[in-house]
Assembly symmetry: D2
Homo-oligomer: 421 residues x 4
């Protein structure tokens, strides 16, 4: 007979409260540093769960204006759960991580996508759009998300951790700080900044640490914004539940940390806070391949995607080239980022024809499972990048028709209480 005795739930190694600020909770940290000790330790093969708060630490609410987005404190992000040490892992090994599941908290069946202010966070079109704060709240209905701020769509989540990585060694950390420091120096006063140096303000480690260690972490610790050789904030939507990832190990125990869970995201995460950000639970198991860095020539993680990523075979695909034809018409030299921006702007223009506002379209392309392919990056001077919009996420047929597109009224996303756009 089925009994409680023969039914052993998987243990939760880090527990959080998604409704409390991050900096009063244990097991969290928001900088990368080799001296942050493991908060928990596992054996290879164990299945375990880790709870994560949303990347801002509960700063954003389920409501209908975007003032919280406008005023978000970015020195405190991202709030990561960990580190978790894996017994036996040593530098040069490969840590195999099975991302077995990623789910929201049952008590918090919603998430958000934000457009950040040009001056506070930015995003892919921060300058082009002179971005003001906007947001969309998404309701989680099982495997699907819908939004009262972007009606007319429903899609299955490709849920994943936006941010997951092993701890850097001291040497690797120094490399990061040096190279990013040089970039910052070369672009002083850029708005938004081109990169973020170590910043003691807001630095947090939810463990009792000797003061000097905490100070070291705060002053040297790498910010969590970009992805790097250890993984980190790669925001790869297909590193989703069901995927298997092979990380290089840089410190004893590997010291895996994770956070910034996304219910869904489009390729590129356009608006920066472009995924459907959520608090939730991630389930892992791990194993170690000794000497895996050398065996697999690992300079950065590699992974096997999940068999359950949403499949929408019908797509409308937009092209872009590395000419800013939506702006000043400037010709760039084989720049895939510029090309992707044109593809996205073409998609936004199309979505406006069917009735979405520019802000809704921007949020939708950020949050829905759109696919972006690099078409060609060898046909000088134009890189060509495409953006595929899955047709199955729309309640209505949005295909090009001889009679043109039907424009509906979809309202507007949540904007600032002062009404500025």
């Amino acid at each position: 007979m089925a009994t409680r005795a023969n039914s052993v739930p998987h243990p939760t190694l880090i527990k959080v409260d998604p409704f409390k600020p991050a900096d009063v909770q244990e097991g969290l940290h928001n900088r990368w540093h080799p001296d942050i000790p493991p908060f928990a330790t596992v054996k290879p093969g164990e299945v375990f769960k880790i709870e994560c708060i949303d990347w801002t630490g509960a700063q954003i609410g389920n409501n209908d204006n975007s003032d919280d987005i406008k005023n978000v404190n970015l020195t405190k992000v991202h709030n990561l759960s960990g580190p978790v040490a894996v017994e036996g892992a040593e530098p040069g090994d490969c840590l195999v991580v099975d991302i077995l599941d990623v789910t929201p908290f049952e008590q918090m069946p919603w998430g958000y996508t934000g457009i950040f202010e040009l001056e506070n966070g930015g995003g892919l079109f921060a300058r082009e759009f002179n971005s003001k704060a906007c947001k969309a709240i998404w309701d989680f209905k099982g495997v699907y998300a819908t939004s009262r701020h972007i009606p007319g769509v429903r899609f299955a989540g490709v849920s994943h951790p936006g941010l997951i990585g092993t701890a850097p060694s001291a040497e690797l950390l120094a490399t990061w700080n040096k190279r990013e420091g040089e970039l910052i120096a070369a672009h002083a006063n850029a708005v938004p900044p081109v990169a973020f140096p170590p910043e003691p303000v807001g630095a947090y480690v939810g463990q009792k640490l000797p003061e000097d260690v905490m100070k070291k972490v705060a002053t040297e610790g790498a910010r969590t914004i970009p992805g790097r050789e250890h993984g980190g904030n790669c925001d790869i939507k297909n590193l989703s539940r069901g995927s298997r990832c092979y990380f290089p190990v840089f410190v004893k125990g590997a010291n895996l940390s994770v956070g910034d869970l996304h219910f869904s995201q489009g390729d590129g995460e356009l608006s920066f806070c472009g995924a459907i950000e959520m608090a939730g639970i991630i389930t892992f198991s791990t194993s170690i391949i000794k000497g895996g860095v050398e065996k697999f020539a690992l300079k950065q993680p590699i992974f096997l995607p999940s068999p359950i990523d949403p499949l929408y075979s019908s797509k409308l695909i937009f092209e872009g080239i590395s000419v800013d034809y939506h702006g000043d018409g400037k010709q760039y030299n084989m720049d895939a980022t510029v090309a992707y921006k044109q593809a996205a702007l073409n998609a936004i223009a199309y979505l406006q024809k069917i009735g979405y506002t520019r802000e809704q379209a921007y949020l939708l392309l950020s949050a829905a499972p759109i696919e972006s392919h690099v078409g060609a990056v060898v046909d000088s001077p134009n890189a060509c990048v495409t953006l595929a919009l899955p047709l199955g996420i729309f309640e209505h047929d949005i295909l090009p028709k001889e009679e043109g597109l039907t424009k509906k009224d979809f309202g507007q996303c949540a904007i600032r209480s002062d009404g500025l756009l």
Copy 2:
């Protein structure tokens, strides 16, 4: 009863000989110019075929050295078939083109992928690899390609025209020449060049034209290397047989041209001549949507992909960021092209572990249906781009294993007769 009388084959509007140089054949041209008159005219709804020579015009042979690649004459490319006018199309309309099929010639069941010399054509890693000419010959076996120069793989073709577009208006042409001229001026003496200005040498139109028209085309005509607002050399592998594409129309009749057929290609077409280049036959039908440019906000073509693109669900995915960690370690600012290069270099390093040479790996990633996604382009300073290698194309299991990877001897691709690499 089935009879010849009730069986009407689709007409072939342009016929070519794939074994003859391009510049002795009718119905071809190798520059974009509004004054090139239509070579053929169709009504909307007709199904018709167009034959195409390979993009170099038969310069490359089915043999085992790469001297023909080394010495290729690039002033003569690409050789396009057309233009084909569609009755009733006018500027501002949308030309709907169904790419109904793309096949090689029965008498020429092979194609090639080349790495061009740094000084003559280049490619994504021309500088990094100080590229010398290499090539792989691919044998077409029905829907599959295999290569004696890259043993151990077989894959289904995602056959497509690398180059397809409507003719530019005089105004659009002037815009192209101006912006690209400015880029060239800003990067004088770059090797390989950043862009290609109009070049009378090698210019060709396979029609009887008044001398002044031919001269105008030769001196003003845009080169065919990059994709642009009209389509052109976008090298999008998924614009494949079975896809439907919506082109903006810039001149009366639309004047569609096509060429550079590819049996297969990976996202990015890394090595520049990275697709499996072939001569062959493309089958079309067209329709017109009046005022479609305005209706669909068309700044560049949009398209619906084909239901028969090859499906390989198991993939090994490599990540890259905008740091040149395979080179001098420089930090770039959100540069998706640099990020894609790292992902590709990671994949090449992995393929070398299983026994392919660097050149074979480079050619394979160029030619096989690899998928490249822009992961995130908002996490300053690192863009993250992924490259997915389909596992089903390999004869052997190449997954990461605890015992490491099995290295086999796959020989080498075709190299220069002087043996230089």
Copy 3:
């Protein structure tokens, strides 16, 4: 800010204890009858959860012998949660049910697949194999299942309710009882029986009912074994989380009931208890289309499958025809069931070549996401049916190789404590 106040979890309308027998719990029932009143009522559009015990009512344990399978009491099955009435639904309407999610209980991360005894439950090969009780326990690791009783495989669940349906009208119930009674009469004494008449023993409704009503339900209520016009025990694996189903409504309120949750199942559910049976939670929302039965010509439910069903593109496909060539060689007349049995027996023989026992293979084909297609049912006298085995679920490459198949030792599934097979 995110707060408990602005975070409203979806309500759970029926709660159960998966470790307690069914017949002491509220909100359950195990017969179909129009007089069973709704246990809960919802409005169209609401998202709500329903908890379900496993189909046997906790009779099967997480252990290593199959005595519980041998002795299972089948008069008590299936234990359904419900009925749930939907406000406004009337006979002739179509009840649209979104199956938003299906998950196991967190405290019970396991399920089972059983081969039932020939004399107690049977299964597709009960007679051929003279079946003795066997079982496999499956551990749920996020989206995946693995089994200590069938090592070497891991697959993503296509989780679904094996049994879901609206309540029959009195008239429809009478039709069922009549036609099935006639079949039983025509096959008296068949082992296993061809069908199951109403059976007062074991009948249960977990609500306080007037005695006469309960007696009516017990004596007239249709057994839950087969699927019928209202849905019921159709065991369609693709009616999974993320799917949308359109049910005909036969009684006021529609009175939806659900149970027999499966973590995974192969087409055909070969061994009868062939899915991975589990207790768990299903999330729904509903809507009503007035007069939908007439609008859509609904004689039985229709549905839209889920975009997140597992995708394993590489498959090894076995064929079968309606000749019992694994048995006495008899030629059947266009019998797709016989054909499917041959395909399955071919697959079992193949799996035995790689080291699985016949029992393990039978259980695996029952539980894993195998696909069965009807190939042709018009080529007299042979129906042809195929069974596709997804290759990606195996840890090792099982493709046919020139050197033959590698046979490993995978042990055995759980068998009877007396060792009989």
Copy 4:
């Protein structure tokens, strides 16, 4: 340079004229018999082509009435190309056949789907519908088919040989004739017949044979209607171009024959002549695995499907059970064929709601890439079978809508010149 000299086309081993009757052409045969000698011989590894006439031998014309269907001579079918011997193949080996491509003749870009008369061929609903002859002509437009007789749909072909198999041994042939003879004896006078005994009338072998051999073939040769252990007329749509099939070998040389090419087909090939029948060209290569029958436990072919089978992820799925609720309401015992018929009748009723006639719907389900899954075959007494209609093949949105379905006028398929339906 590319030259005719270095471009070697794949050889065509059997050439046919699709506009001539079969029985005047070489390299064809229409019975299975071990004494039919190979018409051509290949070495393992060679790529070669085989031309095939349509299964009726040009009896059906591209016109607008169905009199040719009504009067079709079925003693002459199927017309197979072959046999082709493979050097080195011996009984007990496995013949690996790569189906590299399947295409129509360029000069015959059309095919047909027919409903046969109840008295001459029948079909799945021959009795239910009291079938009169109907047909639809399909135009091939590259990878797509459309029909003037069934407007509003377009789909990509999953092109395959309906019929492909190795030659039987004398012993196997005797087994077939015996078991089918017994079935015929048990159902004497059935209309349509349950099976077809050897029939000298119409028997044909397009080679010069000694008279006694030809007589033996004619009097003993198995008819080609059903699929059997050697493959044969399995009509499996996914045994398509790009697939790899493993056949058991029964005679020296294997003696592979092929015919009945289909441009497309739905699972079940409902109307018997339900595929899009065509004449065309099939491209093969082969290899031999010694002792493969034993190595892989081969009782019937197994195969690996193609990566380029059309992918239509959005589907509307119809269910059916083994109760004839569209007819007399009879309860069948776990009969998957009856269940599939109900699912198909449900789909036909739905298609009639959107405006197709019953005949058009029947033809469409036969010809389009519909998918039929065996849901459950263990829930006594009802087998449950599903039929999935791909939504992407329709020009209009046919999903269930609150307002009901929009009925259009799609005319009618081709019917008899006397107008009888």
